[in-house]
Assembly symmetry: C2
Homo-oligomer: 359 residues x 2
């Protein structure tokens, strides 16, 4: 008798998204194989005197750029900004880009206006660097230098491992610019080692924590300093996969107005990390609780947030600036679990495709 | 017989907020009396070679700074950024601020970390400029130069006339830096002349338009380029006074993820202005409609947004860069009307005070 032809198994909702979350520690390690390329780009930034860093990207790439502001600000103490693509590409009369370094972030390397910006910046004399997961992409060709994310193919629409590797790449580049690249690489390796067991633990623990949020329609996610990037990225995951109106705010933004909208059905996810921003973050969380908001607390100092109804701490990294690589994981796994609890497939967000070709 | 002692009349909900919205055209005209001070500050920026502009502020002041990015980018073609207060004030080891101009925005002039940032920047050799509604404030003393908003006392917690004057101030300063201050002042005067009848018309027309939104809990507000400031400010008014989870996004942000959360109960307020950003904004609005979102359209090109269920156009200004001074008015009056329709008092947002003393 011939064997029954085996039909291909039904895909499980969120299986790609989860698989890529779990690949993150290895993705960080893979990127570190390109450490020499990062050192070379940093050396060129010095040689060209191009210490004003203009970062461009959309979605998760732009969220990672929020981390770059702090990585460059704290390590070489350079000014890094999320530059306006609109001025240069659409108005075609923005500021003079010569004398700066452009760091263009795109997972696919195909984002049209990011490629366009890089072409114009390069023609104007900027030192242009592409950080992309596709070394053969249009963006990689358009830029003078290319740094690979080396995260392996990312299939889920909602980015995870390429986001974490964008953080790692910006941190490593900033560290090399400060002459601390080798040390930072070791911190990244240690962070990857802590991320692997954290993801395993969260995968088991988070579904029960996420379930009570199945009927939540809106949320604020607050973080400050290097963790503002985490707040933006967690909010984006919740929007994309769980259809929650999640708005990222700095802890200061929250108390300058939006706090007026809070009630018990409007939770505030607080990312509390053990750095110089902690007093301000704890103060904002306390005000949110007093205003009737329900608190979710994550980060290395999650236990310091008083009265949180859901606490998801992450381990401390060996360098505080590496915290955002760990603190995004609770948000990724919360989004994975909550989407499934709501009957949504986190692998297939409504109306999105992996590459967005928008103006 | 003695006359009955008259008791002081009951305050009408939103009466201060409305009064200050109506004072906006006069507030712009009052600020223009200080044109020479703006010209002098611009000249000093040139003399000091301080063409990198670092703007700092919170809430509506930070929203106005988003406009400053475009005013400085398009007029003198200088790079202006919303700088990180956290790096300099909390980490105390941010980038070198010498050689830049710091523009500190605060209605009250009392925001603690903005004052702290200015003190550190001034000590580091930056040219520091305070733009404030209180010329005797701590911020005004801390900065090397002071430009008054001259909007008259603002009593409502939710800022209106000081926000519009912050736009006018940033535009006028940028125009003087480009040698076009006199011309820009005339455009501002013409804008004030168009704003007055617009406000009168909206006050009558908007309450009926706002009513169907009484049960809306979440909204996106999209704008791009100079109008991203408007998107941020309208969203903040809706959060503060109507308790709607309104998130501002650029039109590009919207299509890079958040669009997945839309349904018919999740309206997208689209600010469509007749400038280089219009094709991208119309494309994003069309995608939002296709995803099932309900559209509100405002701006000078509101009629170009297809399928909008609520259209609130504003007149074209004599210079496109002045559009944001007009296009914020529909959002202010929508917030005023909707708060009242929901039984809220826009003069008394929940848990807010006029001056926020937060870390």
């Amino acid at each position: 008798l011939a064997a029954e032809p085996s039909s291909s198994p039904e895909p499980v909702a969120g299986e790609r998204f989860l698989a890529e979350i779990r690949e993150q520690p290895d993705a960080i390690r893979s990127m570190l194989a390109y450490d020499r390329e990062f050192a070379l780009v940093a050396r060129t930034m010095h040689e060209r005197g191009a210490s004003l860093v203009r970062m461009v990207g959309h979605g998760s790439s732009d969220n990672a750029a929020s981390y770059g502001v702090y990585a460059f600000g704290l390590l070489p103490r350079w000014t890094a900004l999320r530059d306006s693509i609109t001025l240069t590409v659409y108005f075609r009369r923005g500021p003079d880009l010569s004398g700066s370094t452009v760091v263009a972030l795109s997972q696919s390397g195909q984002t049209p206006d990011v490629v366009d910006y890089v072409e114009r910046a390069r023609a104007a004399g900027a030192f242009t660097v592409a950080i992309t997961n596709d070394p053969s992409s249009e963006l990689a060709s358009a830029a003078e230098a290319m740094l690979p994310l080396a995260a392996g193919e990312e299939q889920a629409v909602a980015a995870t491992k390429t986001y974490v590797n964008q953080l790692a790449a910006l941190g490593l580049l900033a560290a090399h610019a400060a002459g601390r690249g080798t040390e930072f690489g070791e911190h990244l390796r240690a962070t990857a080692d802590r991320l692997a067991p954290l993801i395993d633990e969260l995968k088991t623990r988070i579904p029960a924590l996420a379930l009570p949020f199945a009927f939540v329609g809106r949320m604020f996610v607050i973080g400050r300093g290097p963790e503002f990037a985490t707040a933006r990225e967690i909010a984006l995951k919740l929007l994309e996969t769980c259809r929650i109106a999640a708005e990222p705010l700095t802890s200061t933004d929250l108390v300058h107005g939006p706090i007026a909208a809070l009630d018990s059905q409007f939770p505030v996810w607080t990312i509390a990390s053990d750095d110089e921003t902690l007093p301000g973050v704890l103060d904002a969380a306390e005000r949110a609780r007093a205003a009737g908001g329900t608190l979710v607390a994550s980060g290395t100092a999650a236990h310091r947030v008083e009265g949180a109804s859901c606490v998801v701490p992450v381990p401390s990294p060996t360098l505080s600036l590496c915290s955002p690589l760990l603190s995004v994981a609770p948000g990724q796994l919360f989004a994975w679990a909550l989407a499934r609890a709501k009957g949504l497939d986190p692998d297939r967000p409504n109306g999105l495709t992996k590459i967005t070709l928008a103006r």
